[in-house]
Each structure stands twice: as C-alpha cells, then as structure tokens.
Amino acid sequence: MIPAALDPKRTVRATAMAPVPYTVFDHRRETRDTVTLTLLPSGREAVPPFAPGQFTMLSVAGIGEIPVSVSGDADRRDGRIVQTIRAVGAVSAALCGAEAGRRIGVRGPFGKGWCLPAAGGDLLVVAGGIGLAPLRPLVLAALARRDRFRGFHLLVGARTHADLLYPYLIDAWARRGDMTVAATLDRPADTWDGRVGLITGPLEETAIAPERTTAFLCGPEIMIRVCAGALVERGVPAESIQVSLERNMQCGVGWCGHCQLGPYLLCRQGPVRRWDHVADLLDVEEL
C-alpha cells in the first residue's frame, strides 16, 4: 500500500541555487581596485541572455557569492558575459584576482533592468563611480538604437582620476558627436584638466527638455537621491527617472529576504526601479 512516490531515497536539488560553471576568458584591470572579467561557459550549459541593468550572482568556490551587475553588450548574444567588479570584500577580491582560465560560478541573470523609453525622447545617464558598470549595457543599447532618440547626455562622476571607470569608453563616446559626455572628479588631479566637483554641477548645466527626458541613475545612494531630486525639481516626471539600487542580495530569486526595501524584494523587482516607486522609501531612514 506504499505509493510509488514514497521512494525513501528520493533526493532533490535547488536548481535556482546551482551556479553554472564559467571560465575567465579575459581579465582586464580597469582601476586600482576594479577589474572587468569576460566569462565563457566552461561546458555546454550557459545562463540565459541578460537585459541591461540585470545582475548575476558570481561565485568562487569556497569563498562565496556576490551580486554583480552585467556590464557587457546585451545585443551581442555570443554567450560571453562581461562583468566589472570592484574589490571591496573577500569574494569581490577573489573575483578581481581571477586570471584567465579560472573557474567562476554564474547564476542569473536576475531582476528588472533599465527600460528604454519609446522613440522620440531624450536620454540622460548619470553614473557615479562603479555605477557606470551597470549603465554601460544601457548606453550600448541606446547607441545601437541611436536614431530612435533625440538628445543623449552622459554624466560621469568619480572620486579621483584613478577611480574613473572606462576612461577609454568615455573618450570614445565623447568623440562620437551624437551624444554629450561630461566627466567630473571629486578631487582635483595633475593628470586631469577636466571638471572638478560633484556631479550635481554638470547635471545643473546640462540642457534638457524635462518633459521628454528619461533619466537613468546609478551610483552611491546619496548621489541618486540628490540627482533624482534635482531632476524632479527641473520638471522631469518622477516616473521618467530610473534608478538602480543596492541591497544585500544573496539568493537572487526572492527566497532569502535580505534585499527588501519596503514593499520590494529588490532582487526580483529591482535593482532598477522608477523614482516614483522608491522616492518615499529612500526618504525614510534605515527602511
């Protein structure tokens, strides 16, 4: 009378938690603490394609796992994953130290990413520090569809010249002629003849048509709050401002609960949220 289902040796795995093995194909040092890894599947299994703004969970066996935004080109569906990592802890340091050939675990991609607006509008991208990494796929996607949009402004801020991420890309984008690029450093440097000061400076000076502008913000939370507030004051509708938020993502799929921001599980309903969804939440201390 024992049902067939009652096989006492039945085992089961949590597939959403199983990393797909990838191998470091290219390791590029970006700044003193930041590295871009290009990963290729080690075997036949690969993770699904990503959308700009989504993140993966990257793991080094025995050391741990962290969320990292994807920074590659979403249109280039050749199986490679490009991720820029800043060494701030044990796992990120191990990832930054992973030379070509090293095995890395990948789960994802997870979450909701950036949403390019309908044709005809202006794009304003504001990046602080490592915040440019999750915005890179958005910039690449927008440039691939450049004819759909009118104005295109990129503002980049960094603490020091040495911390400025992707300087080669910023230069290349600035030379394009079909977008405006402004970079500013918090601290002056002999090697820098550009602008010095907070990113709010260039933001104020960027001429935008508020009603048709879509803004994309990523960087320290304080930068996001100040810049989004300034944009709203200039008449950009809060629902046209998208921000990428950082919380403690551990599982990526809504099981662990660590990444909550009020009503949102940011691993599933973020990391990118519209400003009108989160402005009130970020205004409450320690929410």
Partner: protein, 261 residues
Amino acid sequence: MNRPTLAVWKFTSCDGCQLTLLDCEDELLAVAEAVEIRHFPEATRKDLPGPFDVSLVEGSISTPREVERIKRIREESGLLVAIGACATSGGIQALRNFADLREFQRIVYPHPEFLASLEHVTPIATHVDVDYELRGCPIDKRQLVGLLSALLKGRRPDLPKGSVCNDCKRRGVTCLLVEGREPCLGPITQAGCGAICPSYGRGCYGCFGPSGSTRPEALIPVLRGAGLDDPGIVRMLRTYNAAAPQTAAVSTELEGAGDDA
C-alpha cells in the same frame, strides 16, 4: 608552495583557549599540515621567528610588559585574531576593573611592591588593531576550525553577530526564560557556541560576550521577572565579559542605582 605561518600567543589567561586548538583531535593533523606552526608554547618547544601570516592571541593585557609585547606581535603578524573572552573583553580578571586593585594585591601578595600591574585589564583591541575575534570562555572548536579554514582559503570567516537565541531556535531548544526555568543571558549574548548551556537546561552565562545588537538594559526587567534581584543581575552580568563596554555600562548603572537606594 610555502605554507602559511601560524603563531599562538598567550597573555593574561588560563590557556584554555589555546587548549581548544589542541582539542581539535580530528582536525589537528590537518591544521598542522595546512599551516606551519612557528610559535605555540602550549604545544611545542619550537620557537621560530616571524613574520607570521596569522597570529592567534589569547589573554588580556594586564601588565605594562604585555602592552609592549602585543605591539611587537602586531607588527610581525599579517592577520591578528583575538581568541577568547580574555582577549576580546578582558575576561574574568577584568572583574578587578570594578574593584580596588591595591586592596587585592595587599591581600594576596606578601610584597605587592614587586608587582607591575596596569590599573585596568583591557582586551587586545584596546592596544592594537584586531582583524577577527573568536568569542567564548573557552572559544568554540568549530568556530576555530571554521576561522582557520576560511583564512586559508581567503574567505571572510562566518562569525554571526546575532544572539544565542538564534542557535537555540535552529536546534530546537526551547526558551528557558519563557518557560520560567532559569535566568538566561542568551538574548543579549553573541551566538557561536551552538547554545550548549541552554541545550542542557542551563541558562546562558554570557561567555561569548555581547551580541552585535546586544540590549542588556532590555533584559533587566526580564531577569527581575525570572526572580533575580538587582545585585543578582549585576553578578550575572559580571562574569566572563564583565568589562565589555555595553554590559559594564548597564551593570555599573544598576549597581549605582542600588547604592543610591
């Protein structure tokens, strides 16, 4: 490949935490193979010079000579780990911080003038930067092996800062306070021991010291409800981690309130 070097140092303490390493019977061989032990007086007469990749430091700083010695060890160590209640909060000897040292010396020693003691017993972190702390009197074997495994691999050691209640609940031990069985410091004490005492029906006596969000002041009414009077609560708070700042502040205030009354 050169193995990482390890040193084990003793300051004012009972040696019990060093013994925990020797007690790692199953893992001891693996430890000895994974690292080169260069200084560990409890285990070997071998005394090799630094530098040391990892130093495990047991004991509190109680004498002027110890102040100098810990600075030297810090300079020679890559990572410095304070092990045990003495090293992390001053230990049981820090009880003298609440009393008159001279009087103790007069009572115990025929010639107290030969003693060189510091006015207060202090943890290692008062004098040098400490990279990690293993709590407990004594430390927990699994945490020690876990720490060494993590450091060898380059991983951040898993040393939860939550309360002992987390461990009780995960292993199905029911609450001594709520059942009215024993006063217990579990709610304000850092996890890591695996809730040994409560699992034997004994209240936690706080040997792992204050948890990362310890709230001893909120436990006072609970302990009163469990039948302790205020001197009893002060005694309970003043055991192995009496000098931990959060606990000391509350026990001192409670004692002061009693004196005023």
